[in-house]
Symmetry: C2
Subunit: 134 residues, 2 copies
DNA sequence: CAGTATCCGAATTGATACTG
DNA sequence: CAGTATCAATTCGGATACTG
């Protein structure tokens, strides 16, 4: 890092966003799109759990304290409609539904890990600064 | 990847979060904390721009179409209070204020790039799935 | 079991006008 | 120039009750 200027950031946004960033363009920026998807209240957690093994609906519901069925469904549906999660229905009685990461979803775990490691490494520092500021 | 099970996801959340994830604990999870910070509407964009070179307030304002002074200030203040951005006031007339990434902020560009590359590589696929679902 | 339906409060963002 | 103040609109998320 700090080779002088923008070696790092260049790779962040230089998939031809011109410098004066029109927000219309920016909204279609892949990075923001993905980031905003992944970063709502429950998505990351669900991806992580599904990264371990497939889960049934109520299994997820039980695993995550505070997550209502409404938000669980909503979050899974978005993930599904983005092709990150796969939903399989077993027509048993009572019905059983299994959710698992698609290969695409699984591949996302990798870059997410880089960010996770950064977060783990630097979170204390952030919190410290935050408290000085507070 | 896909060595069998959770090689990837393990590094995501195994800083000792037990499997039944209590949300109280999860809210203090460094990963989510950082993700939620970075992923509001303007933060990533501002970090990216500041990663190129320091900017003055109105320089950022002009650079990002659709960003109101209110949100610009708010976003910068949060970044500052997290120690990712540094604010320097030059007591000229009229006043001039420069924002730049701190070393901590700059170090965040690196993992962000990993995610950015994933996003660039897979965004088309996501969009395609989305449209089939829509 | 696996959801859906409904209602409501909270948080986020935008628009705009004003100030040291 | 670099913000702040105010108000309105939208979106997000929680609680709860109900259904095939």
């Amino acid at each position: 890092m700090s080779t002088g200027d923008t070696g790092v950031s260049a790779s962040l946004h230089d998939h031809r966003l011109p410098m004066p960033v029109p927000v219309g363009e920016y909204d279609r920026c892949p990075v923001t799109d993905v980031l905003r998807r992944v970063s709502d209240k429950w998505t990351l957690l669900l991806i992580t759990l599904l990264g371990r093994h497939p889960h049934r609906f109520n299994e997820l519901h039980r695993a995550v304290e505070g997550l209502s069925p409404r938000m669980l469904t909503r979050t899974l549906r978005v993930l599904e409609s983005d092709g990150l999660v796969e939903r399989e229905v077993f027509p048993t009685l009572p019905p059983s539904v299994e959710y698992r990461l698609t290969p695409l979803g699984a591949s996302l775990l990798e870059p997410l890990s880089a960010l996770a490691e950064w977060a783990v490494a630097h979170h204390a520092e952030i919190v410290a600064v935050r408290q000085r500021t507070a």
